[in-house]
């Protein structure tokens, strides 16, 4: 059978390949703000702990939005019937977080920081902030909604000569930390709950997976440049939106590191392509949204008398099993969707999340996992379902209601394959693939918070904050260009943590911008590639090294050598630099060293001519003087001192 899909490994596509497939990516960045208290109550912010004083149990029910509709996500979460356990600690959680007290005034400090970041991102600032309830039915917020308010819309950041649009920026409260999710119980810690964040949403203006990570980096640096946001693990969290031509926007949640983005995004793009291929294949087979057929049969032990052949969980007392025949789906379940996944994983994921059947494997089918059950069992199931050769049979088992819900989800997900790419929130997995998390919520989950009135943002407040803004990255870039920084260094440098160091060494220590820039971008990148801990380099150390160079105490080569020695051996940079400057007076030693090299040259022959001799002489001198004398100077010495002698011969 020809392969239905064509999933290419990460790294095998060019930027043009992504553009050709209509790849679009956007970011949602959640950045915690550096405030003393939470957003809507006066609990302290930023104090984390795993222990707790009390637990509270809640459930979430879907509700009507102001437009009078139920949101799709809401219904799905309700189906899962999760018991949500909140763990509270007196120090970090009051009755507000637990939704037993209405909100207090919104933290003014948070509003100011939000406004500043919105101004940095060139957003149009609203005149009145309206607090909105954004529903989250996974329980991550006890109210069932997040209080959030837009401060600015339609901004932009310059990126590679074009603009990345900023759709909106909101100040909002953070959610709980999840510490467990098994079966029908999900456990949350409430210390992080209610801390202020800004959520920055970009337009889907990124054209390759790599660009998404770069823009993420840029935005992160920008917000950090205010000095008003939290840093460290979990302080900034990215969601990534991905779509390809013909696909649907999927949101990848919980991306752990910006570096993980390109692979995740590539895999998600491939998955959407694969789902489109599957859709086309089903269409070719005449299976459409309306002609799709599936049959569900209860094959519980009691119903079939086939106890020993069903999975252990189903055979247990009270366990139920359902078999589903998907008409005409043979070959589909095994079709690759991601590097390590196939379509059956799409089904299994849904069953896991919606039916709470989270012990894997949670489904068997007679195409990809037929060996899990005996041939005779499959034959019997197929007979029961009146399955023909073209059909595929999927089995799901578990507690009665969960198993039934699981069977329904199998049918639903298979049916969606006839429509295309479902709109989903996907979780980032460690291997760079994504897994189903929930149906992507729509604007129907937003409605006004009736507990707090709108907050006016007068012109004076905006003007005052605008005057305190740090310099935007793009202004920096303009200056770097004027300084003659090579174009390929400009953007990365302006957005890097070395920008400030760079400017200092240029302006205060008189270092040539081009040299400083290439060292701090290209060299750093190379060192990082070698696996050296570039992030551990202290800006003050780097500045000191450059200042020695600026004062002529060490050469360019010495500067590079010193940093390399530090990064590769971990010896204290200070002692490396002392060593270099102490051996000092190098020029004084030059004649002596030159003589030594001269002696060596004399006892050698250079059949390949003067060039070879020059190379040899340079090599010898460098070995003696490594880094202590600028290379150009050495070349001069070699040319003047040794070459003529060589010629003589």
């Amino acid at each position: 059978m020809p392969t239905i899909t064509n999933v290419r490994p990460f790294g095998s596509l060019t930027d043009d390949d992504y553009r050709a497939m209509g790849f679009r990516g956007g970011l949602e960045i959640h950045q915690q703000l550096l405030t003393t208290s939470k957003l809507f109550c006066r609990c302290p912010a930023g104090i984390y702990s795993y222990d707790y004083d009390a637990e509270i149990l809640r459930h979430m029910r879907p509700t009507l939005s102001e437009m009078g509709e139920y949101d799709g996500t809401a219904l799905m979460e309700f189906k899962t019937r999760k018991n949500i356990i909140y763990r509270t600690k007196q120090e970090t959680c009051c009755t507000y977080e637990m939704d037993d007290t209405p909100p207090f005034d919104m933290d003014e400090e948070s509003i100011d920081i939000g406004l500043k970041i919105a101004l940095l991102l060139n957003c149009n600032i609203v005149s009145e902030m309206h607090i909105i309830r954004k529903q989250y039915l996974d329980g991550s917020i006890p109210t069932g909604f997040q209080r959030t308010a837009i401060v600015g819309v339609e901004g932009y950041v310059p990126f590679r000569g074009r603009r990345i649009g900023i759709k909106q920026l909101a100040v909002e409260e953070d959610s709980c930390r999840e510490v467990g999710d098994e079966g029908h119980y999900r456990i949350y810690l409430t210390d992080r709950l209610g801390m202020p964040l800004v959520e920055t949403v970009t337009h889907p203006d990124m054209e390759t997976p790599a660009e998404i990570a770069e823009v993420g980096q840029l935005l992160r640096r920008l917000t950090r440049s205010t000095g008003l946001v939290r840093t460290g693990i979990g302080a900034a969290r990215e969601d990534v939106n991905v779509s390809v031509a013909g696909g649907t926007r999927a949101e990848i949640k919980g991306v752990p590191r910006l570096k993980a983005i390109p692979r995740l995004v590539h895999n998600e793009a491939m998955r959407q392509r694969a789902l489109l291929d599957i859709h086309a294949e089903l269409k070719r087979r005449g299976i459409t949204e309306s002609s799709f057929r599936a049959v569900v049969v209860d094959v519980s032990a009691a119903a079939t008398g086939d106890r020993q052949n069903l999975p252990a969980a189903a055979a247990k007392e009270g366990g139920h099993a359902y078999a589903v025949a998907l008409r005409g789906f043979r070959g589909i379940l095994g079709a690759r969707t991601q590097e390590t996944k196939s379509f059956v994983d799409e089904i299994s994921d849904r069953v896991r999340v919606v039916a709470c059947l989270d012990r894997l494997p949670n489904v068997f089918d007679d195409e990809t996992s037929s060996r899990q059950l005996g041939d005779e069992t499959w034959r019997r199931l197929r007979r029961k379902l009146k399955a023909r050769d073209r059909d595929v049979v999927v089995l799901v088992w578990g507690p009665a209601e969960d198993a039934r819900l699981g069977a329904d989800e199998i049918v639903l997900r298979a049916h969606e394959a006839t429509i295309g790419v479902p709109s989903e929130t996907r979780q980032a997995l460690a291997d760079g693939t994504t897994g189903f998390e929930r149906i992507l919520p729509g604007p129907d989950r937003m409605y006004p918070d009736t507990d707090r009135p709108p907050i006016k943002i007068p012109e004076e407040r905006v003007a005052a904050l605008a005057s305190e803004l740090p310099e935007p990255i793009w202004t920096r870039e303009g200056r770097y260009r004027e300084w003659g920084v090579p174009e390929d260094c400009v953007a990365p440098l302006a957005a890097s943590r070395w920008a400030e160091t760079f400017e200092k060494v240029v302006e205060e220590h008189g270092v040539e911008p081009k040299f400083a820039a290439t060292t701090l971008t290209h060299k750093m990148k190379g060192w990082r590639r070698r696996g050296w801990a570039v992030d551990d380099l202290a800006p003050s150390d780097v500045e000191r090294t450059f200042s020695l160079y600026g004062r002529g105490k060490i050469s360019r080569e010495a500067l590079t050598a010193a940093l390399e020695a530090y990064l590769s051996h971990g010896a204290p940079l200070r002692s490396i630099l002392n060593d270099l400057t102490h051996r000092g007076k190098v020029t004084a030693r030059l004649p002596e060293i030159a003589k030594k090299v001269e002696r060596k040259i004399k006892v050698r022959r250079f059949p390949n001519g003067p060039a070879a001799m020059k190379r040899y002489a340079m090599g010898e001198l460098m070995a003696e003087l490594r880094g202590l004398v600028p290379g150009a100077e050495l070349a001069e010495i070699v040319t003047e001192k040794f070459l003529p002698k060589a010629k003589e011969r």
Binding site: R58, D99, D100, P102, E128, M129, M446, P453, K456
Partner: protein, 480 residues
């Protein structure tokens, strides 16, 4: 004798209907002018150009409490933002679509053999939805719409709903009490298996007490229920409370007027409280209702009702009779005594023609000496004065101190361990029945529905104090 003014807040007449075509809902002044100037209206899709840049969205109605300086739009992501009128340079209408609020209202699926429960709606947050006009949660769900939101009700009973009125519970008053009591009696006569009353929580305990006196010897449960978190939110307690209440009305053996609300703040179980011993004790907690000075009647969850005591009135299947007495004298006041209170407050009530005063006194039931002449004056004007305790727990003891005995001589009658609000509504009810103060006294001090108990069990007063090691240990071991 001048009648005291009626409570102006009580809704007595229908609100005037809104004009058929209000194109600029809630906007006034400068904001209204601005909308008109650019020819746009509420529900217009607009592009707004302003000195703060461009904003795109749909014009929303303005909350009445909002100022006239801003226009509110909903942007594509579902958020609302306000744009200052004085910053606006241009508005272009790009579309127009009136939003229709539709709340799924389904016909209740009737099933043979299920208990028949009547849900009477009075308003409050168990029956609410969002309103653009005020930007607030308003009581507007019809009880029928409730079923659309809580389909589980169909597994419990055959439900019929009737909206009696739609008022916030603080606006409940004599007229509503009478209408409600009569409706309950009518339903009992029709043969329902149980009655649920949807009610705002603020004064639910007042209404529960009134109904305990007005509708006596009910053969079926009468269950008041509400919610502390409005039903528009996913964490609302409304659905679960309603499920518990329907369960109690349909199946419980307790034929009394009860309040059914959350036991703990967790979504675990509800408590059935006797209507005369219950009180709202926290302004916002889910588990706000507590039985005072006693233990509750029962716990209720989705599966079962578990009585916590045995001394309750039993359901009487087949019996369709109750004792209805809707007498209610409105000229009764409830005074919360405070140190330094001037006696003129009492004088004023007497002068205004009030016929009864319930005092929530300090400690065992005291007011200061300067009030004594005013109490004497009240006695002479044949005003019935009853003493309760603002400590809520415990009995009035006016024989312990000399001052208490003095006050009794001035006609102040100790109301035993009746809660102040309960004593208040009972005095309204008693004075509504008779002018004879001795008869009033007899009525007041004869327990009708557990409002006075002969003893306080030692587990009737439990307010755990946080921070104590043993309490913290208890809290950590149980879902709160």
């Amino acid at each position: 004798m001048a009648r005291p003014p009626r409570n102006k807040n009580t809704v007595r007449k229908k609100a005037p209907k809104a004009p058929a075509q209000d194109l600029h809902k809630g906007y006034r002044g400068a904001a209204l002018e601005c909308l008109k100037k650019f020819g746009v209206k509420v529900w217009s899709d607009v592009l707004i150009d302003s000195s703060r840049g461009r904003f795109e969205g749909r014009v929303l109605p303005r909350a009445e409490s909002g100022d006239d300086q801003h226009i509110v739009i909903k942007i594509a992501s579902g958020y609302n933002v306000g744009v200052a009128v004085d910053a606006i340079t241009d508005i272009k209408e790009t579309g127009y679509a009136v939003a229709h609020y539709k709340i799924p209202e389904k016909e209740f699926p009737f099933k043979e053999g299920r208990p028949f429960v009547k849900l009477l709606g009075t308003g409050g947050t168990i029956a609410s939805r969002l309103d653009y006009r005020t930007g607030a949660v308003i009581p507007a769900f019809t009880p029928g719409e409730l079923y659309g939101a809580v389909p589980e009700l169909a597994d419990i009973c055959n439900l019929e709903t009737e909206k009696l009125f739609g008022v916030f519970s603080e606006n409940m008053g004599a007229q509503e009490y009478v209408v409600l009591a009569k409706a309950i009696a009518r339903e009992i006569e029709k043969g329902v298996d149980g009655i649920v009353v949807g009610h705002g929580t603020d004064t639910m305990h007042h209404t529960a007490a009134v109904l305990s006196f007005m509708v006596q010897k009910s053969p079926v449960p009468v269950v008041l229920v509400g919610s502390q978190r409005s039903s528009d939110r996913p964490s609302s307690d409304a659905a679960l409370n309603l499920i518990h209440a329907a369960k109690a009305a349909a199946e419980s053996d307790i034929a009394e007027v009860m309040v059914c609300m959350f036991g703990p703040t967790s979504d675990l179980y509800g408590l059935l409280h006797r209507g005369t011993r219950v009180r709202k004790m926290h302004s916002s907690y889910r588990s706000t209702f507590r039985t005072i000075g006693d233990v509750p009647l029962a716990t209720v969850n989705r599966e079962r009702i578990a009585p916590l005591r045995d001394d309750y009135a039993r359901r009487r299947p087949g019996d369709r009779k109750c004792v209805l007495n809707t007498a209610f004298e409105e000229r009764v006041a409830l005074i919360y005594y405070y140190p330094n209170m001037y006696p003129d407050i009492l004088d004023a009530l007497v002068d205004l023609g009030y016929r009864g005063i319930v005092i929530a006194g300090t400690g065992l039931g005291h007011v200061n000496k300067p009030c004594y002449p005013a109490l004497k004056r009240a006695q002479e004007a044949r005003v019935a004065v009853y003493m309760t305790v603002q400590t809520l727990w415990g009995y009035v003891h006016m024989d312990v101190y000399e001052t208490g005995r003095d006050m009794q001589r001035l006609g102040v009658i100790p109301a035993q361990n009746m809660l102040p609000e309960v004593a208040y509504v009972k005095l309204c009810w008693a004075l509504g029945r008779t002018d004879d103060l001795d008869e009033v006294r007899r009525i007041m001090l004869t327990p009708v529905a557990g409002e006075i108990t002969d003893r306080e069990p030692t587990n009737g007063y439990l307010i755990l104090q946080g921070g104590l090691p043993e309490v913290e240990e208890f809290i950590s071991g149980h879902w709160k």
